[in-house]
């Protein structure tokens, strides 16, 4: 199961405008909604923010993975956003977040979703991946880095 199969260039925002956690999540949810991947954007954002209340999904190394299961999305959805100025995510390491992966799943697809989260986690633990992923300047380059490291 490849993460790169779920990440499209249309769902990558290489220069997020948002500076707050909620606005960043909203900006990425907008992108997914525009692609018809989200049936109720407000409900999706509400669920993601409720999950954030349990504990920040800022996992360190300037990365956050806000996520939730909800019937408001079709299948498993992934959007990526990069923030040059950084977003305050109350991350575990106290650093601001520059790379966000917004993920959601319909409850019917939980098994696929969990495997994708595990794949992303494994990739992000790889220092070489993190460096190349950080250097990718365009959505095409970003997806190519995922494909390379998933081979």
């Amino acid at each position: 199961m490849r993460f790169s199969d779920y990440l499209t260039k249309e769902s990558c925002v290489m220069d997020l405008k948002a500076v707050t956690k909620e606005d960043a999540i909203r900006e990425l949810a907008d992108v997914l909604a525009q692609q018809g991947r989200v049936s109720d954007e407000g409900d999706f954002i509400k669920h993601v923010m409720e999950r954030e209340k349990l504990g920040s999904t800022g996992i360190g190394n300037h990365v956050a993975i806000p996520h939730c299961p909800t019937r408001s999305v079709k299948g498993v959805v992934v959007a990526f956003g990069r923030s040059k100025q950084g977003v305050d995510f109350q991350s575990v390491d106290g650093h601001e977040v520059n790379h966000l992966f917004l993920m959601g799943t319909n409850p019917e697809d939980l098994n696929v979703y969990l495997k994708l989260l595990a794949t992303l986690s494994k990739l992000l633990n790889d220092r070489m991946f993190r460096r190349e992923f950080g250097d990718a300047a365009t959505p095409d380059e970003l997806i190519a880095v995922f494909k390379k490291h998933e081979k």
């Binding site: 299961p69 939980l110 495997k115 989260l117 986690s121 633990n125 998933e150």
Partner: protein, 161 residues
Amino acid sequence: MVLRTIVVSIAGSSGSLVTAKYAIALAKLLSVKLVALYVVNVKVLQDLLKSRIFVDVEARVYERDLEQQGAAILERISKMAKEKNIEFEGCLMKGVISDEVLNKTQELHADLLVMGELKEMASRADVFYDEGERILRRSPCPVVMVKNPAMVETLYKEMGP
């Protein structure tokens, strides 16, 4: 040689019912008991907790939801087996998928293991780490891998009760 038990591994994916239908057809044809296994993948939840993507309460909710999904799919397969007059048992387990499926297959002295098609290999590592690959390679009994859903549906429909 007398065959007694067929085991079918249910992954919970959209293709699971097709796999179950083929296993039911085989069990009917061979007049044997069918045991369906569904494993809640606790390992992936533990990994996500460790990497701090999940928090405790969240992992517990996912585990509960996966259990409910597993119970629901086993119940559905049970009804299908009953309609075809087959002796059936459903087993809901938790742990590492391949370990649980293989241990149960061994414990039951199953004569045949039925599983869904392997997904496309993304990397060489899949040969070692993919749960389906592990089941296929380490199974203590012959394995049938179900392909061609359209053919299975036709076979299932044409098979009497």
